[in-house]
């Protein structure tokens, strides 16, 4: 007589999974691959879509900060490297 029939039942049920094991694993991997693909697409294009939506609805989009030269020189664009007025330096 088994010590715990519930455990025996679990073993019995688990045995029936052997033939299905590979198929389920493949399907799970396939589903996860699909979700990752969708995630990658969203990660890549969502910022662009938001930007387009903002522009279409009349927004100005992200503002670029202008930096003032502490020594009183001309202000530069957001990247801070390129002078706003070339040929003045």
């Amino acid at each position: 007589m088994p010590a715990n029939s519930f455990k025996e039942l679990e073993k019995e049920n688990s045995k029936q999974f052997d033939e299905r094991e590979k198929r389920v694993r493949h399907n799970v991997n396939h589903s996860m691959g699909f979700f990752h693909f969708i995630g990658d697409i969203l990660e890549l294009f969502l910022p662009k879509l938001v930007s387009i939506f903002v522009n279409v609805t009349g927004g100005n989009g992200p503002k670029q900060e202008r930096k003032q030269d502490p020594e009183g020189g001309p202000s530069t664009d957001g990247d801070g490297l390129r002078p706003k007025y070339p040929n003045t330096h």
Partner: protein, 195 residues
């Protein structure tokens, strides 16, 4: 390589590594350890191999998508079994439009009349009979009995999974055992004393 990892790494380590690296081998470790057990539980509750296979697949996808939510407060096995039981209970309830809840409520009064049942009665039963009786009892009672006797979960763990108080769970276990014994008696009346 994967075989070595399977033997040495704990569930929690495999989860942490999978989240950090998304490496397939860590998923394989968890899948190898739990897929057949999850299938077994789904089969016990859903009573259909095809449905159990589909459920196992969906449960694993759910587990992987929610892996980052595993906080480590409970054992990993308890966490995935909670997803499994709740998924199966929801599936049954959706299919039957909550008939199981009605059956459960209707049988409560009758059950209250009976008294405590020894665990030995359930645990030493013939597996075939156990299977037959489990198929006849409501899904929540079946899930509770499986959690207690198959997964050795504590009252606290079961109460966490089913979102009920510990005293409510104790009462539910008692009622589930009483229902089990009554149904067993109905089916195997003449052989009851021989178990």
């Amino acid at each position: 390589m994967t075989r070595n990892i399977t033997l040495t790494i704990s569930d929690e380590e495999a989860v942490t590594e999978y989240i950090a690296t998304q490496n397939q081998k860590y998923f394989d470790v968890l899948y190898t350890r739990y897929s057949s057990k999850i299938f077994g539980k789904c089969l016990s509750i859903l009573k259909d191999e095809e449905k159990a296979e589909d459920a196992t697949q969906e449960i694993f996808v759910k587990i992987l998508l929610n892996l980052s939510k595993f906080s480590g407060k409970s054992k990993f096995s308890t966490w995935i079994y909670s997803i499994t039981y709740n998924f199966c209970i929801d599936t049954i309830r959706k299919g039957k439009k909550d008939k199981s809840i009605l059956v459960e409520d209707m049988t409560n009064e009758h059950d209250m009349a009976e008294d405590g049942i020894e665990d030995r009665f359930l645990m030493e039963m013939n597996v075939k009979r156990l299977k037959v009786v489990l198929e006849k009892i409501p899904v929540t009672d079946k899930a509770i009995l499986l959690m207690k006797y198959q997964d050795d979960m504590s009252i606290k763990e079961i109460s966490g999974i089913l979102s009920k108080s510990e005293s409510a769970i104790k009462m539910k276990i008692k009622r589930a055992k009483q229902k089990f014994k009554r149904i067993h008696k109905e089916i195997y009346t003449e052989n009851l004393n021989s178990i």
